[in-house]
């Protein structure tokens, strides 16, 4: 959790006291509401157009624990379930984001900030989809499994500082972990990739891996 900014530091040059009070109330609402959460990759795109009534509902976008309920609902409500063709990555060339190809457009390696650490990671960056999303597969090894409330983030940095996140993840206690993530940013606007670790006890993020030069 970051420190909330002071209204008086943010807003200057407001002509009337009434307008200033109005902006201050917006400021208070922003502070009280907190940040809008980052959507996980599974939610970034719409689940897609629902299938026509004579089509089989495609439940690929639902997590496994929802499949049973969805199939029941689908039987009861023909045509009410969703199609998810492009989420499954099988769409045509002009479809939105697909999974990174076996031959990615670029592979980025990350190394630990702590030189004594033996962890490592690689990002297999796919080609940007027609919808503007970059699909990527992140494989991480050697990081500690984090307890509830803590998490890692893949971020893009500028001048060494994290600017935007491409998603959060945790790792398995043993072996490598692979996750699919998506970025919707213009990558040329950033300097490098990094992985940060969020610590709920301090509400702080620490860079644990950075892109190798």
């Amino acid at each position: 959790m970051t420190r909330s900014p002071e209204f008086d530091d943010l807003v200057e040059g407001v002509e009337t006291e009434e307008e200033r009070d109005r902006l201050r109330r917006v400021h208070e609402l922003l502070v009280a509401s907190g940040p809008p959460p980052e959507l996980s990759p599974a939610l970034l795109s719409s689940p897609g157009a629902p299938p026509a009534e004579d089509e089989e509902p495609d439940t690929a976008w639902l997590p496994p624990r929802r499949l049973g309920a969805t199939l029941l609902a689908g039987a009861a409500l023909a045509g009410a379930a969703f199609g998810a063709g492009y989420i499954a990555g099988n769409g045509p060339d002009d479809s939105p984001t697909a999974a990174p190809a076996a031959q990615p457009a670029r592979v980025i390696s990350l190394r630990p900030s702590d030189q004594n650490n033996t962890s490592g990671a690689s990002i297999r960056l796919g080609r940007r989809g027609a919808d503007g999303n970059w699909p990527m597969t992140l494989t991480v090894r050697g990081l500690d499994h984090l307890s509830r409330g803590n998490y890692y983030s893949l971020v893009l940095t500028k001048k060494g500082k994290p600017v935007v996140t491409c998603g959060t993840f945790n790792v398995s206690p043993k072996g490598a972990t692979t996750v699919e993530l998506i970025a919707a940013y213009d990558l040329e606007g950033f300097d490098a990739w990094a992985i940060t670790r969020y610590d709920k006890s301090t509400h702080g993020d620490t860079i644990v891996m950075t892109e190798t030069a």
């Binding site: 420190r3 200057e12 609402l29 809008p36 689940p47 379930a81 969703f82 959060t168």
Partner: protein, 183 residues
């Protein structure tokens, strides 16, 4: 209805179009509300996995129920909020694990009315924020949740600090106009 862009279509009209089976309108509604729904679910459920489920359940409900939406009974945002809240409550109820032991003290959390109020307001704020021009939203997000001072934002975005201040003030004014009824 032939629509090139949904940006000027009201929430209510979008729901009405979804109700008539318009798949593109459904996508537009999802893009508009996935984040507020996820935010609401996360606040209520406190778990990303369950919040993701709740988002999917919400939009499944929207698709099923959009045909019953009556524009004359009110705008679309409160209708969507009600659908989302019901999906989230159902999700919480279905997956709540029995407590191991009774709490010793009354939790110092908000009551249902307070939570409903704060949930609705956060929903409105996040939705309004999503409508800001990118250049204004960026400086506001960095200032409020990125922990950056205005001079740091100026350096980061490589713009003059005066521009950061102008964008912040303009963005807040835009939000004030959209959120007039909750100020």
């Amino acid at each position: 209805m032939f629509v090139l862009s949904y940006s000027d279509v009201s929430d209510g009209e979008l729901i009405r179009m979804v109700g008539s089976g318009d798949r593109t309108a459904f996508d537009a509604l999802y893009r508009r509300y996935a984040r507020p729904v996820f935010g609401l679910a996360l606040r209520r459920l406190g778990d990303r996995g369950r919040a993701e489920d709740a988002v999917q359940e919400t939009f499944a409900s929207v698709w099923r129920a959009a045909g019953s939406y009556k524009p004359e009974r009110g705008p679309g945002a409160p209708w969507l909020y009600a659908v989302a809240r019901n999906a989230i409550v159902d999700n919480g109820r279905a997956k709540r694990e029995p407590p191991v032991e009774a709490p010793d003290e009354v939790a110092a959390e908000d009551g249902p009315a307070d939570r409903a109020e704060s949930g609705w307001i956060a929903w409105r704020v996040h939705r309004a924020l999503a409508e800001l021009p990118e250049r204004e939203r960026r400086v506001i997000e960095l200032a409020y949740w990125g922990g950056r001072s205005q001079s740091e934002i100026a350096e980061l975005l490589e713009i003059p600090i005066g521009t950061v201040k102008t964008r912040t003030r303009t963005g807040l004014a835009r939000l004030a106009a959209v959120l007039e009824d909750v100020l």
